[in-house]
């Protein structure tokens, strides 16, 4: 597993643990009704698990496991993967922290949420730009060399 995939998969696991812990607190609150303010964290739960866990894990594993570009094992432009990593996690952090911080501080401007959306878009474009050329049959690189 290349270093960038290790970083992405481990960050995805951290998001899974955080998002699930928040989800567990929300479900327990639904049953016991002790801390209604916890519902402020519901958007954080969604962003952490849908984007921080599922999307990031899928992409981290794809970078590791998809066919290489040549027989030397070249995975293509890894800079794009790092760009995706930074943008995706920056977006998750902004989207997950905004609702509780806004409630805690008595209001925040909305531009961090717009920035999170833009960062998600940048992450998706970088991910697709990296992975597109690697969607090819396994062994294609070896066959290219033989040809």
């Amino acid at each position: 597993m290349p270093p960038v995939s290790r970083v992405m998969v481990r960050t995805a696991l951290i998001h899974l643990a955080l998002g699930s812990t928040i989800g567990g607190l929300l479900l327990a609150e639904k049953g016991l009704g002790l801390f209604p303010w916890l519902w402020l964290l519901r958007p954080s739960h969604t962003h952490l698990l849908l984007v921080g866990w599922t999307v990031q894990l899928a992409f981290g594993v794809a970078v590791w496991i998809m066919p290489r570009l040549d027989a030397a094992g070249n995975r293509g432009n890894i800079g794009l993967v790092w760009l995706c990593y930074g943008a995706l996690n920056g977006g998750v952090a902004l989207a997950a922290l905004h609702p509780p911080l806004a409630a805690l501080l008595g209001g925040l401007p909305q531009w961090p949420l717009a920035a999170a959306g833009l960062l998600y878009l940048i992450a998706a474009v970088a991910a697709v730009a990296h992975i597109w050329r690697r969607v090819r049959p396994f062994g294609a690189a070896a066959r290219d060399v033989q040809a």
Partner: protein, 148 residues
């Protein structure tokens, strides 16, 4: 594929069927304007995202992630079994307790819902702990052999 991964993946497939059945019921209820099914919506989401997607990912990762060592290729497998048991018992309990709690709030169902929450959270932490050490590069000697 080891037995543990088979259990994860087959149970994920069963959860997918259960989620789709519930999703169909919710849509039929919406189409025919049958009330009272709304409390099942979060159960549907979590059967799909936790019971299906996360459990399938966990099973495939336990199977395919790099092995730890020749002696203990998958590390402490008890973590994986604990995650499997807690995740599925937590989801099952939730599937019963969440709509029951909506119908009778602040009853014993609320306590069971909190127990379901605890089981699901512990399951995820166990899965993360089982997978964490296996997120690693290829062992150096093997890399040298392949490079030669």
């Amino acid at each position: 594929m080891q037995r543990q991964a088979q259990y994860f993946i087959k149970t994920a497939l069963v959860q997918l069927l259960a989620a789709m059945l519930l999703g169909a019921l919710l849509l039929i209820g919406q189409g025919l304007q049958i009330g009272g099914l709304g409390a099942l919506l979060p159960v549907y989401y979590h059967l799909l995202m936790l019971g299906w997607a996360t459990q399938l990912i966990g099973g495939v990762a336990l199977w395919m992630f790099p092995v730890l060592s020749r002696e203990r290729p998958r590390g402490d497998e008890r973590l994986g079994w604990f995650a499997y048991g807690a995740l599925n018992s937590g989801l099952l309990l939730r599937a019963v307790a969440e709509p029951a709690n909506a119908a009778a709030p602040r009853s014993v169902w609320g306590v069971l819902l909190a127990l379901a929450a605890l089981l699901q959270t512990l399951a995820i932490w166990a899965l993360v702990l089982a997978l964490w050490p296996r997120v690693k590069g290829r062992p150096a000697p093997q890399r040298r052999q392949e490079g030669s």
